[in-house]
């Protein structure tokens, strides 16, 4: 891989990578079983440079912000490289947000350049707030031939001849602004520097290296910190290849493992669980004798890999299982949300190591990772090289808030010095997660100190962000909480949101009110919905400026009501 210590910016490292491995394949893009694009590093360079030149001609200046809203595909990475080449800042936005949410974040980050897929652009232009937003340049990918682009340009045609000027950046310059949440209220734009990314990349590849020939299957959205790092920067600075699939249908994902002989893949817990279920169902269908033999072989593999993974041996013991994953899989990478230890153990026992980790956008990508020496399903691993972790105010069980100090920690929240000061205290980032270290230096997580949940799909949901959907609800007042914030559980998983209702005097909880709540809840994307509600019989405590004192209210509810008091919606 490139020696990242020699580079001051992502753009410089990526530029050298394109020259270092000209004939290696860096990108494959497939739509279902059809391969659409296959680019070598040299091809990538030839595609990205005319775009960089066109951006330059369109007065894209160093430090300008360009938002990308795209599903995982080659044009995402090509665009990001072109932006870095011009010294710009990439703002990756989650393509699964609604158009209104996109507009809110675009306004917050003040991106004047936008690169977006056609169907998302169409939704954006039809959104009520669109007219008030001015883009200097919007580039739309894959637009149909006669489509009305509402002033945007076609990405495919936005190219200029000539050498684009490479704009050098310094380590402390901003590389990306990544939103960790805040679509409903207070946007949290994590300002991440080139130093953050280069240090994170160096640290991750120390334990999980890439090299030419490695193929990484990119399934997590590229706007997500994990995929941006291990599905773009990491592979590229090592001469490896990224495989994009334009669909997440399980049957095509399974095919891709085999067709492209995938080496690494990152998965959210939901997908991992789905894979486990699929494999388990196949095992259950085996005739009794074969099933018995399989269980014996799995047991043998478990014994032989107790101290460390022995992938070569596991492939020989359980060839059919490994062939189903293409035969060259070295590890499944997971993190970002709670994964049941039994699921992790299931894969490890089959000889497929699982790199389970923990991280947050504010700290780059990952803080801890399983080093597989030996594999542990009950922890989120050890701190990565260069990461210092501390447990603040531990209780009698050693559990306290996890704080981190590392060169991977963001510079600040965009335009929010107050929140930055609350979150980064004397150089330590307060994660809001509760954990402790065991005797072997592994971090175990036990829940969250903050009022938020992380879904099985790896999404951070802050209750404050979704409350607006209940605006105008005919009750005296309401508030949304994470269940584990109301009733601390000292465990991860089973996280859900609870709507707390304070009814008017003499008001009854009628069927009509319930239906109103349900209808509003349905306007939210499925992963953001409130799961339960409780009726609270006291006025909410409020500040002088009439803001709800959430912590005080949560404390009062937690002490007065049992978790079972929350009724399903």
């Amino acid at each position: 891989m490139l020696n990242l210590d020699q580079y001051a910016s992502l753009g410089a490292a990526l530029r050298d990578a394109l020259d270092r491995w000209p004939n290696e394949v860096c990108l494959i893009e497939a739509d279902r079983d059809r391969e659409k694009t296959r680019l070598t590093y040299s091809d990538f360079k030839e595609t990205a440079r005319p775009l960089a030149r066109a951006l330059e001609d369109a007065e894209f200046r160093p430090g300008d912000r360009a938002a990308i809203i795209m599903t995982n595909q080659s044009k995402w990475l090509i665009s990001a490289y072109a932006i870095f080449h011009c010294g710009g800042i990439v703002v990756p936005l989650d393509y699964k947000l609604t158009a209104a949410e996109h507009l809110l974040l675009l306004a917050h980050c003040e991106a004047k350049f936008l690169i977006i897929e056609y169907h998302l652009w169409r939704a954006l232009t039809q959104s009520p707030g669109f007219q008030s937003h001015e883009f200097k340049i919007a580039l739309v990918t894959e637009a149909p031939p006669n489509a009305d682009l509402s002033g945007a340009y076609r990405w495919e045609e936005f190219r200029r001849k000539g050498d684009p000027v490479f704009v050098p950046r310094q380590r402390e310059d901003v590389a990306c602004i990544v939103y960790s949440s805040g679509t409903g209220g207070r946007p949290k734009g994590c300002v991440l520097t080139h130093d953050n990314y280069l240090e994170q990349c160096k640290s991750l590849t120390t334990w999980y290296p890439f090299w030419p020939g490695v193929r990484y299957l990119s399934i997590l959205p590229t706007n997500h910190a994990i995929d941006f790092m291990v599905g773009f920067i990491g592979p590229f600075v090592c001469g490896a290849c990224v495989v994009h699939l334009r669909t997440l249908r399980p049957e095509y994902v399974r095919d891709a493992f085999v067709r492209y002989k995938i080496t690494y893949v990152s998965l959210v817990p939901m997908v991992l669980k789905n894979l486990e279920r699929g494999l388990q169902a196949k095992f259950d269908e085996l005739p009794a004798a074969k099933r018995f033999l399989l269980h014996r072989l799995v047991a043998l593999n478990k014994v032989l890999t107790r101290r460390r993974p022995r992938v070569g041996l596991s492939r020989k013991l359980l060839p059919q299982v490994h062939q189903a994953f293409g035969g060259e899989l070295l590890a499944l990478i997971t993190g970002g949300a709670f994964v049941e230890p039994s699921t992790l153990q299931f894969f490890y026992d089959l000889g497929i190591p699982v790199a389970n980790g923990y991280g947050l956008t504010e700290a780059g990508t990952a803080l801890t990772l399983n080093d597989l020496k030996p594999f542990r399903a009950d922890t989120v691993g050890k701190p990565l090289p260069g990461v210092e972790l501390r447990i603040l105010n531990p209780d009698s069980d050693g559990i306290g808030e996890v704080a981190v100090r590392s060169r991977t920690v963001m510079a600040r929240y965009l335009d929010d010095p107050e929140l930055t000061a609350e979150t980064i205290v004397e150089g330590w980032l307060l994660t809001g997660d509760l954990g402790r270290f065991d005797g072997r230096g592994h971090l175990q997580l036990f829940g969250r100190k903050k009022n938020m949940i992380v879904t099985e799909g790896g999404k951070n949901i802050y209750p404050e962000d979704i409350e607006t959907v209940f605006d105008g609800l005919p009750v005296k007042e309401y508030c949304v909480f994470a269940a584990n914030y109301l009733w601390p559980a000292k465990q991860l998983g089973q996280e859900y949101l609870v709507l707390v209702l304070r009814l008017e005097q003499n008001q009854q909880l009628t069927d009509a009110l319930r239906q109103d709540i349900e209808a509003r809840n349905r306007r939210l994307p499925d992963f953001k919905r409130v799961a339960r509600f409780v009726v609270w019989d006291k006025d909410f405590p409020r500040t002088a400026s009439m803001k709800i004192k959430r912590a005080a209210l949560a404390d009062e509810i937690g002490k007065s009501l049992d978790r079972a008091a929350a009724v399903g919606l």
């Binding site: 699964k96 334009r246 669909t247 997440l248 249908r249 997908v271 994307p525 499925d526 992963f527």
Partner: protein, 80 residues
Amino acid sequence: MRTPDQTLDEILSLAAAHFKVPREKLQPDDDFFKTLGINSLQTLDLLTRLEQHFQVELPDYELQGVSDFRTLAGRIQTRL
């Protein structure tokens, strides 16, 4: 050519069969995540089943923001 109502009815029948729930339990405006008790990954399975039945290709993004059968039927109808 199917009418929108026929498309909707066929989707309800297919979903009922695929997820093994009684057809009469499904209504056009039902939230299919809730009624069928499925997650977003399982809805992709349903999409594949619908593609095979209607002989159309439905990109994953057609399901984005959709959670009821009627809207889903509308998206499919435009591609028939």
